[in-house]
Amino acid sequence: MSKIRVNGEEQEITLPLSLGELIKQNDVSQPNMVSIQVNGAFVFREKYDETSVNEGDEVDFLYFMGGGC
């Protein structure tokens, strides 16, 4: 088991793991609904499956929020 932080909270994962798989494990039903940063750097949507998660990574799921009216 390896430890990472997802949205500031510790999570245990089994490596190897892609960002795409991490999204599924976190019940993000539509990957289109989030923008993702790994260690503070933006990751392109097209690269989720080829981006691997590493021990100690800080992953932030930033949800699109379009309301205001």
Partner: protein, 268 residues
């Protein structure tokens, strides 16, 4: 600027603040803020900026007040149903504070009018409810060198980020609009009325902090909250070198009408 006795009294709670004082109140009274959207977010922003005595408040919205707006758009009252939102808002602002000059634009914010509109203001507040316009505001403000506050709400959640020229922009974190209908809007998914107030008052505070040069703005930080757990979180957002509008090789150098805007607006 010399304040009248009644103005000293009116703004006394600002003047008492060490970080604001008479000087800060003068900056507020000379400030010009454009609020885009007189809806859920625009309502609290406008009410607080009016009360604070912002010199010129621009408000742009092409809609009329609908009965379904009244659950959260607290600047509009029941008798206002059917009235243009900008007129309803202007009437309230003038009653709250006759010192404020209100400029009401009964139209939508578009690629054609964006630069003209923002050029007359010091700070812009995004209170709109759809992605194409949120990205358009970002692009117009980044390209036009204007500070602005991004705000978004949905269900029990809200998020906000302040941009100053040179700091991370909305696209640095969100790149481009999600595919249409991937993310529900408030009119599809609902929103707890008070959430609009929670987020809008944060945006109003950012505008006042900007005008007075007080404290640290929400720049390079995205503040988000989930009101069900009342959990607030701030995530550092770095200026993204690959950002399509403010990155090292920008591909967005002008404004384009977002195709989705028209149908999104009709759905409201």
């Amino acid at each position: 600027m010399d304040f009248r006795a009644d103005q000293i009294e009116r703004y006394s709670r600002h003047i008492l603040l060490q970080d604001i004082g008479v000087e800060g109140q003068e900056k507020i009274s000379n400030g010009k803020v454009l609020v885009i959207g007189a809806g859920g977010l625009g309502a609290p922003v406008l009410l607080y900026l009016a009360a604070a005595g912002v010199g010129r408040l621009g408000v742009i919205d092409g809609d009329v007040v609908d009965v379904s707006n009244l659950q959260r758009q607290v600047i509009h009252f029941t008798p206002d149903v059917g009235k243009p939102k900008v007129l309803s808002a202007k009437e309230k602002i003038e009653q709250i504070n006759p010192d404020v000059e209100v400029v009401a634009y009964h139209e939508f914010f578009t690629a054609d009018n964006a630069f003209d509109l923002i050029s007359g203001y010091d700070f812009i507040v995004d209170g709109t409810d759809n992605f194409p316009v949120k990205f358009l505001i970002n692009d117009a403000c980044v390209l036009g060198g204007k500070p602005f506050s991004h705000g978004g709400i949905l269900r029990f959640e809200g998020q906000t980020l302040t941009h100053l020229p040179g700091t991370a922009c909305y696209r640095c974190a969100f790149h481009s609009p999600p595919p249409p209908n991937a993310v529900p809007t408030c009119s599809q998914a609902g929103v707890l009325g008070a959430i609009a107030g929670m987020l809008g008052t944060i945006q109003a505070a950012e505008a006042l902090k900007f005008l007075t040069g007080t404290g640290d703005l929400l720049t390079n930080r995205l503040l988000s909250f989930q009101a069900k757990s009342m959990h607030f979180r701030t995530v550092t957002i770095r200026k993204n070198p690959h950002c399509p509008v403010c990155g090292e090789h920008p591909v967005i150098t002008g404004l384009h009408e977002a195709e989705q805007a028209a149908c999104e607006l009709k759905k409201r």
